[in-house]
Symmetry: C3
Subunit: 419 residues, 3 copies
């Protein structure tokens, strides 16, 4: 039963657009998978297998990777309805030689796929092949403030300063030690903190960084602290409540260094502390962008690409982006990164927010092999939305719809992040 021809045409045209992926967790020194364990060790698979009943025994680092893969694949017949399973099938088709005619993977395929992966991923030009098969041009990284930014091509792997540790773990002596180590600045008051952070920004921008980013809990409320407040807190070695103030300083530096500041709003960490690695975080739907009102007003020069964790909050994101020139909707994040939520949120945005402000998608990938299936899912939905909202009602021609889609996929990333 073939899909609609119009949607197919649009999807096919959009699949030719070279990708600039504005958010990932790729390690530029180990960007591609070495084994199927790197693919299936991705938290989405360990989460779903565990949620469906898999014990965590084989997730231990010392377990045999082949055994782990077998276990995760064995449980697939319990979660083969999910979008994440569909990504894996796409990977198996594209990269592991699974014939297109085979649309499912079962326990008995584990070894064959493991071996195929082993062989395929060992090719010396594998990274290059993945870039080509994905039509990937550039991909943004997620760098700790003291990450080395050398030893890789920053034109392909674009550094991005992730600031969660600085903002939310500044009370840990280790964070302050690392900051002093990387900047040579001992932080004891607002001025020295500002100086240290500025050195971080300087190093990042000199090394091609194109964005600053942070993920934020539902209750977070940014607010400026005066220097005296910083001083007093630090004198008494009370670093706990500085998060809002440090966040504000970082926003100031985004302004001064002209970096967009990606906000990823809504995650509660460690809600299920015994969950699998990276599979412990959930959310409280009761969050509002109203908490960012002062921030958006105080920094008209800073572009804030905003991701929200819940689809119910998408209307706020749509409305704040429609009103504030410096607020932009950014991709479809985590628990909103499945087809029904993407379809809904994208439709709401693309009919109400200026098209030049819509950053369509990012992969959030840990390994390059995931960029293709994730963008593939997005493009299929984008094609459907363009067909339903613009082409079929006679608002846009097919050509113009592809141009609108290209804007979401690529043009806006280039313009917003200046890449």
């Amino acid at each position: 039963m073939p899909l609609d021809q119009l949607v197919q045409n649009l999807e096919s045209a959009l699949s030719k657009v070279p990708l600039i992926d504005p958010h990932s967790h790729i390690d530029p020194l180990k960007p591609v998978s070495k084994s199927l364990d790197d693919i299936l060790g991705y938290h989405y698979y360990t989460e779903l297998a565990h949620s469906a009943g898999m014990p965590q025994t084989l997730l231990a680092p010392e377990a045999d990777p082949r055994d782990r893969v077998r276990e995760i694949v064995k449980f697939m017949d319990r979660y083969d309805n999910t979008a994440q399973y569909a990504w894996f099938i796409d990977i198996a088709h594209t990269f592991l030689g699974l014939p297109e005619s085979e649309t499912r993977v079962s326990a008995s395929d584990a070894d064959k796929l493991f071996d195929a992966a082993q062989k395929t991923f060992a090719q010396p030009d594998w990274e290059k092949q993945v870039f080509e098969k994905t039509r990937l041009e550039k991909i943004f990284l997620t760098n700790e403030f003291d990450d080395p930014l050398t030893g890789f091509d920053t034109a392909k792997y674009v550094p991005c300063l992730r600031t969660d540790t600085l903002v939310f773990h500044f009370d840990k002596p280790e964070t302050r030690r690392r900051l002093e180590a990387t900047t040579g600045t001992h932080v004891h008051d607002a001025a020295s903190l500002r100086r240290a952070l500025a050195k971080v920004f300087l190093r990042f921008t000199q090394n091609g960084a194109k964005a600053c980013a942070i993920s934020l809990p539902p209750t977070f409320h940014p607010a400026p602290f005066d220097d005296e407040h910083f001083y007093e807190q630090m004198q008494f070695h009370d670093y706990h409540d500085l998060a809002s103030g440090i966040f504000w300083l970082i926003a100031e530096l985004c302004r001064d260094f002209r970096l967009p500041f990606d906000l990823m709003i809504g995650v509660n960490r460690k809600v299920y502390p015994k969950g699998v690695y990276q599979g412990q975080d959930l959310f409280d739907q009761r969050t509002s962008l109203i908490q960012y009102r002062d921030l958006f007003n105080a920094f008209p020069e800073v572009t804030f690409p905003v991701s929200v964790l819940t689809s119910a909050q998408n209307q706020e994101l749509m409305a704040y982006s429609w009103i504030f020139p410096n607020v932009l909707p950014n991709g479809h994040w985590w628990y909103s990164n499945t087809p029904p939520f993407i379809r809904k949120d994208l439709t709401e945005r693309v009919t109400a927010v200026p098209k030049t402000k819509l950053i369509g998608y990012y992969s959030d990938a840990y390994k390059l092999e995931f960029v293709k299936p994730k963008y593939g899912m997005y493009r299929r939905i984008l094609a459907g939305v363009l067909a339903d909202e613009f082409v079929r009602p006679g608002v846009l021609s097919e050509t113009d719809a592809v141009a609108l889609g290209t804007r979401l996929l690529r043009d806006n990333v280039r313009e917003v992040f200046k890449v």
Copy 2:
């Protein structure tokens, strides 16, 4: 204008699956309707008629049933757009001899239908006929903790321990009196309370109970109380604030007796106190599953089939079910039990939560005649979602889609509740 052939095929295949309905309010001693008044006295009809302007005069118990039916039918031309009206038409077609060609009922049909019902429902094998026409195999009950569990076939009518009274009305002397009467235990501290509750669980499980259940207000936050706290409160005859602690004890017993614990979250009782019977409850959309974080973590051995009242909270339910092995999405409840919400919530769940965890639907019915139209509505939507998300995009064959649907309709109920 016929519906899509694919959707029709899927719906037709799904309609052959024998049903195990995991939540209802059926009285096993009076499971079927005796008159049309039993059908139209269902709170959905009295609510809608009242909401549309019907005075409550004829809803008084002493009013003539035929007059009451006339009145409710008379107002149907004000609410014949609703899903609930469509259930009634289905009942009239299936059980009351309304020709399929007649798709509406108006005031002038009231007497004819009343008489048809009178005759039809009087048949000695009516209960058996309804089971057969519905392809119903088993149906879960909602039992008060001191309900007798005898005099009916618990293989067909599966007992379920409803605990609202124990948790939320323990401050009423009558509740404590009833608990003592049914268990022979005088409750004066945590130990005796635990003992009394254990006796309730023992009696229920010995009589074939397969679930424990409770409905919870939006603000509820479960928390363990230590025994001393129970003791002190009870010494001072202060039973008001024990709800969270009693709830926790019940969760412990669900663990010990291996019963799934159905949570139905979000209802505010008596928001419209002058509303019709059972038509007084509404909600506050501002609720979050984060309130259940400690509970889900503390009881990994307890399965929690969770129903939420608002569709906006469905994303939380989807995400918590994706992460916590012991959290399962359960049906489409009350104000979310109409086609647009079912379609949305089902689509969100079926593309993200392991399929083995999806309890598709329950009827919530008070009389057996409602199981068929409600499941009929659900199956039509399920068929549409399977077509759109799986068959048309080439992810599943029709046969595999029917298998997935069957899993939601039946297999998971059997596995989760061990029936």
Copy 3:
């Protein structure tokens, strides 16, 4: 690629229904546009252009109108994906002679359109032409409590008493001065306040007013104040916290004068204080109708047509309307007035709330030229929803679906507001 024939048939039939628009901001003495600046000065265009990067320089009142129009049109290629842009194209087609074959407007069209508007709008019968092309019969106004209600035909321009100023700005001496001026009553306690407000209601109802209305912030909680409380507050010249109490008095007068009370719930004023005129307000999605529980219970005789700002709250509105006889869902407001939200919210309402209670739409327009494109958007969506939910599944014939649509568009407005 033509739209579905069924949807086209329904839309065509619905487009013949004469409109009674139950909420607008039309000035009855200047109901139509004088220039294209009146059209494009509408806050939706200034907001979107500003959001997409347009500086506010030319929005100053002293700027040349033609320059302003050029500027707003120049930025259209950044927001030509929006529903608001589609309204403008509709206006250009219907009123400004843009050929139907041209579906886009670009910078180079600004002068041509400006001139066409100048000429067209100068026609002496322009107002009459707009009424005819729109099939508009009546339109409700938004009147300040001391607005003159003379000099226009109140059968066409229906007065509506807007009470935001009385409720939320009573602490301003200017408001109290204006109230005294228009009523001749010096307000110094509850009795005099009640008297003054009653005089306002009397004048409005004597001049054909058919509704009272107010917009409310997300946190608002109506509550009755006793007369002593009013007296004490006023004695100490503390008028700040009287909002809830004044609101309650107004509800009492709606009851006494038999006026429906339109509630427009959810707007936070001046979230972006440097935004364009009327483009500064946003919201906090965390609002609940539970705050109106006491109000809805206390005034069973008052009809409350309710608009909510967020689509996430639509389920509450649906449910409260299903339960409370005096609560009615009213139109699609502001940030929910784009196709995806209308489609979702309408579908949720029309399958669950008695059809006689559904007030389908209002234009919220500032100039009459906007009534047509806004209702046009609504009718297209309404036709699609009627097709998908009623005609295709065989629930209603085309004729009956048109009747249901007509009820939403017109009949209910007539019955609810008695016009």
